[in-house]
Symmetry: C2
Subunit: 358 residues, 2 copies
Amino acid sequence: MKGYRMAIVGATGLVGQEFIKVLEQRSFPISAMRLLASDRSTGRKMRVNEQEIEVQETTSESFQDIEIALFSAGADISRHFSPIAAQSGAVVIDNSAAFRMFPEVPLVVPEVNPEDIKRHKGIIANPNCSTIQMVTALYPLHKVNPIKRIVVSTYQAVSGTGSAAIEELRAQVKQVLEGQTTVPHVYPHQIAFNLLPEIDVFLDNGYTKEEWKMVEETRKIMHAEGIAVSATCVRVPVLIGHSEAVNVEFSQPISPDEARDILVQAPGVKVLDDPAISLYPQAWAVAGTDDVCVGRIRRDASQQNSLVMWIVADNIRKGAALNAVQIAEEMVKRDWLHGREGIEEIGTTADSHGNPLR
Amino acid sequence: MKGYRMAIVGATGLVGQEFIKVLEQRSFPISAMRLLASDRSTGRKMRVNEQEIEVQETTSESFQDIEIALFSAGADISRHFSPIAAQSGAVVIDNSAAFRMFPEVPLVVPEVNPEDIKRHKGIIANPNCSTIQMVTALYPLHKVNPIKRIVVSTYQAVSGTGSAAIEELRAQVKQVLEGQTTVPHVYPHQIAFNLLPEIDVFLDNGYTKEEWKMVEETRKIMHAEGIAVSATCVRVPVLIGHSEAVNVEFSQPISPDEARDILVQAPGVKVLDDPAISLYPQAWAVAGTDDVCVGRIRRDASQQNSLVMWIVADNIRKGAALNAVQIAEEMVKRDWLHGREGIEEIGTTADSHGNPLR
């Protein structure tokens, strides 16, 4: 079996480390691995497939001979280095929001729109964590009974912010238990025993960017411009695992049993739904697993043709690293790695919201 | 000023203790206070207005000479002792779900339907905590622009379950930090760093009873049978303060500014809404305060005539003890304490869901 020459940008971060773990667990064929990070982490040693590799600083020369580069180092790093990597001949799978809404950049959840990978021009975007798990669960239903509107409230773990946020939650929880005052560093306010309805920056329309990603990315991934989405995104004092309360209006009547039957057979989805034994997806239990878990499926008693459900997934795995590796797998399996042209076009016809440039 | 002869049933519980605190803070006129609980707490001494009072076991004789009895000892105790108290001549303000949906029993949020107190027959019901804060915030808007549909996802603190749940969360959080395994006692699963979409028992329609209370109680309190409500109720690892992400569809167009203008003047409501400085209601900050706090008010981009907002209140105060004491205040202020007849009618014409008895 052929192995691929790979690079991971942001290798020392939470998602970067999970990239390595997922690649190993799924035996992704690797012939060479370059681990890249900021100069702060240069020289740090990490193990990949039993081999010790030294972390290097990310530079313009880092991507020579690289075939696949997985990025998770923030939007600024992606904006700067992804085009360089792509022009060097690598295919970038980028976990940041930098390129997601560019029309020339496929935004992919392999269970939903794998065919979009084919038209890449060197950069493929990995969607927002909350969006990935929602569309993985909803797309199989949408295929059968088109969705008209989604109202979603999220309960997002601190790991979505990174390892500093995990440390902040752990430290603050301890401080509260000991009766001490907490001082927030990562978040604008205390997160221990608290909730923050603020994820990413606020937009002029009163939504946060995180909420707006769920609107725009859902439509792009599902190729369904007409779906109306309203999201409220909330950070909760959970370490790993994003949860979502989702109200979905379909075009036609659908029963909870029909939905369960469809979801039981859907790729990447696990139905955990038996109220009689308090069985439903829980963040704590879902952490470290691959499936998007769905439960509490019931008829929305307030509206026709509507269901309510509870969707939970590991935000670091399916919400980030796993989905990116699945994109890489799909790409090499279908032989869509090479032959793409036009990296120089990215960002020249439309802005990052998909609006045409004047 | 006249003082009232009062009793508190469930005096040693979390809400019972808060009854005492709120009565003291608001200088409710008390001429005599009887503290009642189960026989486990008999003999325990508690202070009310500088006076030490011994807790007595609740019996059929406990309510002689009592004018106002505040109950918070669970639905079974209420079902048994509330009618006895009412027949002894007391007016019961009951925090349990036992009588809420009986047509003969007023279900009251003083900012919304104070007039309903007047028609009591000896029992007045205090609504569910999540419902109280939602209707307090939504009713002022509904009066101006009738609400058609509400989709709400809750983020409910463990104090809603009682003091044992607070101890369970604190103990489990410590165990997780120390790498130990947790064993759930109060909840079906671990609550530390986790979320449980199960509050109260499951109904046949897939909703929990807590979720269904939000449907039925909202309609009854607001006198708006036509409002469609869909709720998802989730227990979160927060000590005090329930939070709610609420999508509201109105009959007519309404802007966030109009809603803010109405809510700023609404009784019992505080608007905390300035994204530029990360100002929004937070459970941690709202704990211990009286107002229902509203923020994140924005146009629902997915639907006409709709707003989204974030509503937070102290579930032990406005969600329970404060609301009950406010009912008592309203009742004595308007002289609605005496003169009601017909306690024997309660439960004879309809069941607890308001359905006529056959």
